[in-house]
């Protein structure tokens, strides 16, 4: 009895891995990178259409609201807080690059709402990183 239980416990991981063979094929970091570059793209690659659409709408919405509030997109670093802001902005992937080169965003924050806008843009990047990691978890089978 105890031997059979031990056997089945030892076989369980093997059975689990054989039940999900497709999750380990190919480049496992593709959804992570795609999700970072384009919000929701990682979930679209994993065929999670509704989740991807909601994530894309939320992240793009937050980024767009930040721009609409005349938020600042970080381009140069003067202190550690600016560095953290830049790291958050970089989380938006291509959105950040497009915004930088298109010259979107305010040069200076002069009103309170613009300060909120800057935070919206930073948080959009951070949320995008969370979404990209979630897509990676879907890819590796850690999440369904």
């Amino acid at each position: 009895m105890a031997t059979e239980e031990t056997k089945s416990a030892a076989l369980a991981p093997a059975a689990k891995s054989s039940a999900q063979p497709d999750t380990q094929q190919g480049f496992v970091y593709l959804p992570l990178i795609a999700g970072w570059l384009v919000p929701g793209a990682g979930h679209f690659l994993m065929r999670k259409w509704y989740r991807g659409a909601l994530l894309a709408a939320s992240i793009l919405g937050m980024f767009a609201m930040g721009l609409a509030m005349h938020g600042q997109i970080k381009s140069d670093v003067h202190n550690i807080l600016d560095l953290l802001g830049l790291a958050g902005d970089l989380g938006s992937g291509l959105l950040y690059l497009v915004s930088r080169f298109a010259g979107w965003g305010a040069d200076q924050v002069q009103v309170t709402v613009a300060d909120y806008g800057t935070r919206f843009i930073v948080v959009a990047g951070l949320l995008n990183i969370i979404a990209a990691v979630d897509a990676h978890n879907l890819r590796t089978g850690r999440k369904s």
């Binding site: 989740r51 909601l54 994530l55 709408a57 939320s58 992240i59 919405g61 937050m62 609201m65 509030m69 309170t112 709402v113 909120y116 919206f120 948080v123 959009a124 949320l127 969370i130 979404a131 990691v133 979630d134 999440k143 369904s144």
Partner: protein
């Protein structure tokens, strides 16, 4: 845009992402997103009243 509408939008977007990424089934995602939204907005209201009372 008022400050409170900014809070509502921020809470809505952040809660949606939290709900989808932190839970596995759609019903649990919805419940967690609603929970986060209420916590975001509720804490803002409570802290705002606290700051108002301290400032008086």
């Amino acid at each position: 845009m008022t400050h409170f509408s900014a809070v509502l939008l921020f809470s809505l977007f952040a809660s949606t992402v939290f709900g989808i990424t932190m839970r596995e089934t759609p019903l649990r995602m919805l419940r967690y997103a609603a929970y986060c939204f209420v916590l975001f907005v509720g804490s803002v209201i409570v802290l705002s009243w606290l700051m108002f009372l301290i400032a008086r």
